[in-house]
């Protein structure tokens, strides 16, 4: 009797472990599929960028090319037009990030230390939220007209200024939360020592919040580098940037698959590097507002 019970228990245990193993297997399998769904398209893009021209549009598609060629990349970097796109993208990203970090950090510090009433602070937060999410296509047309009036159309400055309108509020919001969490006692010692406000900010506060400033800088660079709407509405030729160039391959007659893939790789790569090495910073920025803090 007891023996029977023991056997039954054992059988049950074995059954459960079989079930568990099956579940673990399914778990691993699903994760595998998910990873493949992410990786294969990316890998295929890289493969396409080093494929021989005659291996495009074959049926079935050429998955493993017979030879690796860097001609598409060479073409990209020998073409003065694409070189200009690169230069413009770099210029825009650098200036946007620089100005945003300076103005945004200062404004956030100011707001955090102004002892604003809770109601006003809530209003300010609402403005940030609104700017983050209102249909930007609304302001793109007037912005185009303003730039036309100022004779700034098709210049990198038209793109930079337009992007600043998005990135500055965003960074101010991000840094505001950081400064609000910073205990005032840290500064009080400096006040006693007779430090002026700029000295306090520069010597005491800034070094402490430096990690958050880097996070904000990485996020701004990410937004600016990938940005398309503003760039494409105010700069189409001389000041055209990478995002416009990548999108432009579609409307051109006869898609040049090789250069298109190569340029996409060049555009994606810096952001992948960010994602792998500065993941926490980048994610904090992208999900900011959805996740508190």
């Amino acid at each position: 009797m007891q023996l029977g019970e023991g056997l039954a228990k054992q059988a049950m245990k074995r059954q459960r472990s079989v079930k568990q193993r099956a579940l673990a297997l399914a778990h691993g399998f699903i994760l595998c599929i998910a990873c493949l769904v992410v990786l294969i398209p990316l890998a295929y893009l890289v493969i396409n960028s080093v494929k021989l021209p005659r291996e495009f549009l074959t049926v079935p598609p050429t998955i493993l090319p017979s030879a690796v060629t860097f001609e598409h990349y060479r073409d990209l970097f020998e073409d003065s037009k694409t070189l200009r796109h690169f230069r413009n993208s770099f210029t825009v990203t650098l200036w946007t990030t620089g100005i945003t970090i300076i103005c945004g950090t200062l404004a956030a510090y100011g707001l955090a230390r102004m002892r604003l009433a809770a109601k006003i602070l809530a209003g300010v937060t609402f403005v940030f939220l609104f700017i983050r999410f209102y249909p930007r296509v609304t302001t793109v047309i007037p912005y185009f007209l303003v730039m036309r009036e100022l004779d700034l159309l098709d210049t990198v400055w038209a793109i930079i200024i337009g992007q600043l309108g998005i990135t500055i509020p965003f960074v101010t919001w991000l840094m505001l939360v950081v400064f609000q969490d910073l205990p005032r006692e840290i500064e009080e010692a400096a006040v006693v020592d007779g430090a002026s406000v700029p000295q306090r900010f520069w010597r005491v506060v800034l070094p402490i919040v430096m990690p958050s400033v880097s996070a904000a800088a990485i996020l701004t660079a990410f937004l600016s580098w990938n940005e398309f709407l503003i760039a494409s509405s105010v700069a189409r030729r001389k000041a055209s940037v990478l995002s416009i160039a990548v999108a432009g391959f579609v409307s051109d007659k006869g898609i040049q698959w090789g250069p298109m893939a190569a340029m996409s790789v060049v555009m994606i790569l810096p952001m992948i590097v960010f994602a792998l090495f500065a993941q926490r910073y980048l994610i904090r920025g992208i999900t900011f507002g959805a996740v508190k803090g």
Partner: protein, 281 residues
């Protein structure tokens, strides 16, 4: 202190609020740049009336609803599932999470281009894979309905990681003892999810939903490089429609009017997000 805020304030007013007011002015003005260099005058709400009965405008709204609705349903479901499947802090899970979030950091224009290559009906990888398992793949980008599906797939591929991240962080913050109590009370894993975790996660899930809804409605880049609105008008979304109306046909009045119709809806959603963030849960 106020001096610290001044530069940012000036830029935001000049680049956000001034154009916003300007656009409100345009919405009640008759102005087509190809016909006249200056506004032709005040027309009241005529632009709004015209847009609301315009066939392409209506179609764009419908397309937006299909695309955003489909994409949200898919990415919320997949994102929540994946968040549960990638829980934990082992190096393996962390590596998988790092990998899974990659689509999110890719420039949307590049993602559109990439999927354009993959979805090519004759020589694309997707239809090749389908044919290997014995399914004849559709004409993804050339058929009006499948083009919509293509846009949904792209949005899902790119933004499921966002849901995964946000929901993953929320799950990790649920206290363990709560789940233990449920387990001691004899609740199954599924019951625990349904009656303990889901109610706790609900506010955040709603917030994520509205977040993604707005971003999906507002996105222009990926459609621009994936379908270019086509074939015909079949993947024109509201944003894409306003963009082409304003900056291709230069019909500023009509574009501004339709963007303000859009704005009303967006503002309501933003208000909802704001309200949700302010209350504590």
């Amino acid at each position: 202190m106020i001096l610290f805020v001044v530069p940012a304030f000036i830029i935001v007013v000049a680049v956000q609020f001034y154009p916003l007011a300007y656009s409100a002015f345009l919405s009640v003005t008759d102005w087509v740049l190809t016909e006249s260099q200056t506004p032709k005058g005040f027309v009241g709400l005529e632009n709004f009336a015209k847009e609301l009965s315009d066939e392409t405008f209506r179609r764009s709204v419908r397309n937006s609803v299909y695309i955003t609705g489909g994409a949200l349903a898919l990415q919320m479901t997949l994102g929540i599932c994946l968040a549960y499947l990638t829980m934990g802090s082992s190096w393996r899970m962390r590596a998988i999470r790092t990998l899974l979030i990659l689509p999110m950091v890719i420039a949307p224009v590049a993602a559109g281009t990439l999927w354009r290559i993959l979805l090519n009906s004759r020589a694309g990888l997707v239809n090749h894979v389908l044919s290997v398992i014995g399914i004849k793949g559709p004409e993804w980008l050339a058929h009006p309905d499948w083009a919509i599906v293509s846009v949904i797939l792209l949005d899902t591929w790119q933004w499921t990681p966002f849901v995964l991240l946000v929901v993953g962080a929320a799950i990790a913050s649920i206290p363990d003892d709560l789940l233990e109590v449920a387990a001691i009370d004899g609740a199954s894993r599924w019951q625990t999810f349904l009656y303990v975790e889901l109610p706790l996660l609900m506010p955040l899930l709603l917030l994520t939903l509205v977040f993604r809804m707005l971003e999906s409605l507002l996105s222009l880049d990926s459609i621009y490089s994936l379908t270019f609105g086509g074939p015909g008008y079949s993947t024109y979304t509201l944003t894409y429609y306003i963009y082409t109306l304003g900056l291709r046909s230069f019909n500023f009045g009509a574009a501004a009017a339709s963007s303000w119709i859009f704005m009303v809806f967006a503002s309501l959603s933003i208000g909802l997000v704001f309200w949700y963030q302010r209350r504590d849960w």
